[in-house]
């Protein structure tokens, strides 16, 4: 067992028993006080000033930037939302043209293609897309469309016939919504039609989901691209970490220099 050399004050003086205040006062030969804001030595003053400076930089760069980001942000809709808003009232009233239905389906697919879309929100858009796709199909095509959807539903990804069944439904649905067969909408639509559990339109929930996923808090800081990043993302995800290391490095170098200058050595 090595002898422990680092012993605290109370190890020596109290042996973990609490002395009375009278006994304390008898030992009080000199007034000892430590306060971060009221340093009594040159080193302590240096340390206070350095710490306050660095922590101010640290706080402003972290929290100040985010507050600034919050202050200047504007709710900014995606183009898909603008297009959807242009046709939505007509769709709700049941007087929309085929072109307006196609615009809505494309807008809805731009949400359905998002990775962040929650399953509970997907349900409403699936249903809406299914609803309007069937409306676009003429009476003669409805049965064919329904049949192809059922075939794809029963198919399994990875099986040899799956791509053909998906392409089959894709080519039909792509024509209905008037998109190129190689477009992203054409790839997404068969998947969404097969995933739809109903074709019942819930207008309130569609409005909520579309606004939730297509309106974002943006500003010049989010729109400006720096090293491929949206600037604010680079600042928070990359630059701040560099700053933290830099602050720590500067603190250590400055402290070492101050100690050398003051002739102080540490154990």
């Amino acid at each position: 067992m090595k002898k422990l050399t680092n012993i605290g004050a109370s190890d020596v003086l109290f042996n973990f028993n609490i002395y009375s205040m009278d006994e304390m006062k008898n030992l009080n030969e000199k007034d000892y006080h430590i306060s971060f804001f009221q340093p009594t030595t040159k080193l302590a003053k240096f340390n206070r000033n350095l710490s306050i400076t660095l922590l101010t930089v640290w706080a402003v760069c972290i929290f100040g930037f985010q507050i600034f980001l919050k202050v200047i942000e504007e709710p900014t809709p995606e183009m898909a939302y603008v297009e959807y808003q242009g046709v939505w009232n007509q769709l709700k009233s049941g007087q929309a043209s085929d072109l307006e239905k196609q615009v809505f389906i494309k807008s809805a697919l731009s949400v359905l293609g998002k990775v962040t879309l929650k399953p509970e929100d997907r349900v409403y858009l699936n249903a809406a897309v299914s609803h309007f796709t069937f409306e676009l199909a003429g009476e003669s095509q409805k049965a064919l469309l329904g049949n192809k959807i059922e075939i794809l539903r029963s198919a399994e990804f990875g099986k040899s016939d799956y791509p053909n069944q998906k392409a089959d439904l894709g080519s039909l649905s792509a024509k209905l919504i008037n998109v190129e067969p190689y477009s992203l909408e054409a790839k997404l639509l068969p998947i969404e039609l097969a995933a739809a559990s109903s074709s019942t339109l819930n207008t309130e929930m569609v409005e909520m989901v579309m606004a939730k996923y297509l309106i974002h808090n943006q500003s010049f800081l989010t729109d400006y691209v720096f090293l491929g990043f949206p600037f604010h993302y680079f600042y928070t995800g990359v630059f701040l970490l560099i700053l933290f290391v830099g602050i720590c490095l500067y603190y250590c170098i400055a402290t070492d220099k101050a100690m050398f200058r003051l002739g102080i050595t540490e154990e």
């Binding site: 605290g8 304390m24 922590l55 993302y233 680079f234 990359v238 250590c252």
Partner: protein, 554 residues
């Protein structure tokens, strides 16, 4: 010896050749299993070679660790399953909001360095509770500090055991419960054999394994998908912008993931935009999480304890710089997995993926060699192991050193003390395993609770204990009570919610006093209470003030 072990740890996986299935879940994967096994054997061997010989070795590694070595140990100790797996998971799930965890878990080190590291080393105590009991001249506070330290360690450990279980399940294809028990038994065995000396050596090797295993797939994926692969940590900016602007289908002809899904994506600005409505997270929550994680970082017992193992005060300061730099290498890299994972899993046919495993899934979806994916998973296990070992030592120290020796049996022999430390380690591991098997919450949730708890309780005591001699026993006691009460209320609401119990003002409390960020109010309240009570009660004993002046701030 150290260099030989280091070389083995890096080169051994390269000599292992075996087939592995390329499935996201399920079956036994021989290659990754062999890599994992070889790494675990290496840990145990290193633990035996550098085993503890006495209590000084067990608790503080004999104060023989260099500043760079200590920095690596700090990084390894810090980079848990929550960092290795959870960081990417958070950004994969909530985009920019996940960066609150990145800056929270790194920015806290600035607080730790500027306000504490050197002074903690100067004070010369082994454990957080040791400092608290001594500085505030109170057995009650020592016991309270030890209990809080144990609770923090347990909460943190449960999350790590969950991560270990997840990865063992993935690699070995075994049941989650068995995976947790097997992983727990292994990490317990080498912690027991080696104590902190062996653990510190292990941590240095673990850091190298963690970083290599984390970075190799990034370079491969970035190169494969034509992004700036020389420095993926910068190159992933283009990936983020691709997600924001979308990737049209015609550009993606024949560009598919390992399962044949193409990954053309619709424009998704919500991935990068701040506190986006689709994430369900607000500006307040972003700020509260950032602040809570920062003060929590500066109050974690197993992090604070790292400063006792360096020879000099200057080394304590510099070890933070090195530690933070080593940590940042991983934290700069984690978002790359998130961004790549978002693109590779964009096709709705991929289905919903487990967020906590997105790092491994991204490598799989990118069709990387299964052995490299296995190395990545083994790196994740290393990350969890390195943290667990540090936590077990911190918890065992709190029990044996702060409770048993200082309170229960002050006259016990060093041999008896070491035995108690080992029994405490075993007991903690059993408790943690049992809680982990219950699957009470996600890994990240449990870890964040531990941070907020540390921020409300230990951080204020260290901050005021070091920097204000006026902070006395009564102030510390009431500060701890207030911080503890805030923690208790927040955790009660959180647990009640888990069991579907609706308490009064449930939604209000869960939002403003969320389980992973309640320190935003708890820490300032605890500090304020400590100051006010100290101002109106008797002065701190002169011996304590004298010690602070002459030993800590001289």
């Amino acid at each position: 010896m150290k260099k030989i072990l280091l070389a083995i740890s890096i080169l051994l996986p390269g000599y292992i050749f075996a087939n592995a299935s390329t499935t996201l879940e399920g079956g036994f994967k021989l290659g990754p299993a062999l890599i994992l096994l070889s790494i675990l054997i290496l840990f145990v061997v290193v633990g035996i070679v550098f085993r503890a010989k006495d209590t000084n070795d067990f608790f503080a590694a004999g104060r023989k660790i260099s500043k760079v070595g200590s920095g690596m140990a700090i990084a390894s100790n810090w980079m848990s399953a929550a960092s290795f797996l959870g960081m990417a998971a958070l950004m994969y799930g909530s985009g920019y909001h996940g960066l609150a965890y990145v800056i929270g878990w790194t920015g806290g080190y600035v607080l730790l360095l500027v306000l504490m590291a050197g002074q903690i080393r100067k004070y010369g105590k082994y454990t957080a509770a040791d400092f608290i009991g001594d500085r505030f001249y109170s057995k009650t506070l020592r016991i309270s500090g030890a209990i809080v330290a144990i609770l923090i360690s347990i909460a943190y450990c449960v999350g790590q055991f969950g991560g270990i279980g997840l990865l063992f399940k993935w690699i070995l294809g075994i049941d989650y419960a068995v995976a947790v028990m097997v992983g727990g038994a292994v990490v317990l065995s080498y912690t027991l054999i080696s104590g902190m000396l062996g653990v510190t050596k292990n941590m240095q090797i673990q850091y190298i394994i963690i970083i290599i295993s984390f970075l190799i797939p990034l370079f491969i994926l970035s190169f494969k998908y034509d992004y700036f692969w020389l420095l993926p940590q910068i190159g992933y900016g283009s990936i983020v912008t691709d997600i924001v602007t979308g990737i049209p289908a015609p550009e993606m002809v024949n560009m598919v993931n390992s399962f044949g899904h193409d990954f053309a994506i619709t424009p998704s600005p919500e991935y990068a935009m701040p506190w986006d409505p689709s994430s369900g997270q607000t500006f307040f929550q972003f700020m509260a999480i950032t602040f809570s994680l920062m003060v929590g970082t500066a109050g974690l017992p197993h992090v604070i304890q790292r400063f006792y193992v360096v020879p000099k005060v200057r080394d304590a300061r510099w070890s933070v710089v090195w530690g933070l730099f080593f940590i940042c290498i991983l934290y700069w890299s984690a978002p790359v997995y998130s961004a790549l994972g978002t693109i590779l899993s964009a096709n709705p046919e991929v289905g919903k993926l487990s967020k906590d495993a997105i790092v491994v899934y991204t490598a799989q979806l990118g069709n990387i060699n299964p052995l490299i994916v296995g190395l990545l998973a083994a790196g994740g296990v290393s990350a969890a192991f390195s943290t667990v070992s540090g936590l077990l030592v911190a918890g065992a120290s709190a029990f044996s050193h702060d409770l048993y020796v200082k309170v229960i049996n002050p006259s016990c022999s060093p041999k008896r003390q070491l035995a108690m430390a080992r029994w405490a380690t075993v007991l903690m591991a059993i408790i943690v395993t049992l809680i982990a098997l219950m699957k009470l919450a996600l890994i990240g949730q449990l870890v964040a609770v531990a941070f907020s708890l540390a921020g409300c309780t230990i951080f204020p005591l260290f901050l005021l204990g070091i920097w204000w001699s006026g902070s006395n026993r009564k102030g510390a006691t009431w500060g701890l009570i207030v911080g503890g009460m805030v923690s208790l209320i927040a955790i009660t609401y959180f647990v009640a919610g888990k069991f579907n119990l609706i308490l009064p003002a449930h939604e209000f409390m869960n939002y403003w006093l969320g389980a992973w960020y309640f320190a935003w109010i708890g820490a300032p309240l605890a500090i304020l209470t400590n100051i006010i009570v100290s101002k109106f009660t008797e002065e701190t004993p002169v011996e304590i003030r004298k010690f602070l002046v002459e030993n800590v701030h001289s």
